[in-house]
Symmetry: C5
Subunit: 99 residues, 5 copies
């Protein structure tokens, strides 16, 4: 999994039928300081994440191991909203504080 | 998933039998401004996408989770045609407008 | 999938038993002009491709979705021999013409 | 698999239900000298690894082949704690010695 | 698949139970001239490869398609020991000759 910030959304009407009703989020990867780094991707939302939130996403076949994405042509899923993380005992990110 | 522009097609007569009838599209990846960035690949079309359209594609085993690609040796599929996307509340792409 | 040129072969006698009889091809990836670009890899041949031919290959679990590679420890397969491709309406490669 | 050092942890309350009770570790990849190199990722802990330990992690669908991660949306798992490794007959890392 | 040289081994006592008895090899990738290039990784040995040998390895779920690695959290496997390879009709590597 990797850390990312939800920065946007994609609208696509004409799509594989099994994708109906899913929400496509644009993710900007962030490094361990929470700074944007490493490119963007599109992931399906499994946890009602909103724009601006820091999330964890899983890729590949693991992107289909959620109730919403099972058996869908989906190779990336937001499967958790991050509360906080720490590195070497130091809190590097905490939701709700300025970052 | 990632955003890409359909830029071409590949013809291949001699191929694994299960691929018969599928259409191979050449995709040029685009960044969040819709600008070509990050290389090209070949994907099977699951949604009747045409050259010039902006699409979403899925890779890996997720590339086989469509009606057309199920159980085929296909590691990338166009599974949606993009209408629009926005980043930080700003529309970055809208189909049918100059871009 | 990606475009590549078959540039060689690998011989390996001591191997997992299920790989017996398969042919290992060395592939040099090519860009949309047919020019070598992006490194090489080894793939199993599913379509009787020969050295010098331009092919499509699939990777990951999709590399096992052919009759020859099913359930084998094979993560890349040549699943089509390319006749031609075009980009933006221009033919960039056609088999049998000088390139 | 790759070698990495466990450098931190991630807390995420709102997540796919199947992830309940799993521990998310932040891994910093290391090279064959044990030096940080090559970026970080988040992996689920399958072996009670602690911060500061050198571990092996597996990615992709192989990240789900442990008792704790089976069928979860998890694309990376710590599946072993490293005691030592050697390259060309020389011990490059041994747990419990200064490194 | 890719070509690599076996350069070392990893010892890990505390690990997922299904990995008991498997041998972890450190692989240094090599290019088509047999020269080290492109980083290292850890793979499970399926064919009794020894340090110093040139091998083929498969990654991802294909890393689990051997008798020894089936259903294990293993994302890379050495599935063949290379005897020789040639590129454009020229032998680039032959086991047992100086290289």
């Amino acid at each position: 999994m990797n850390l990312a910030k939800v920065v946007g959304t994609v609208v696509a009407t004409q799509k594989e039928a099994s994708l109906e009703g899913l929400k496509f989020l644009i993710l900007q990867k962030v490094d361990l300081d929470g700074t944007p780094a490493g490119g963007s991707l599109v992931a399906v939302d499994a946890v009602d994440a909103g724009v601006g939130e820091i999330v964890l996403f899983a890729t590949g076949s693991s992107g289909r191991q959620t109730v919403r994405t099972d058996k869908r042509p989906c190779d990336a899923v937001v499967m958790a909203i991050v509360d906080s993380w720490e590195v070497a005992g130091e809190v590097k990110y905490k939701k709700g504080t300025d970052d």
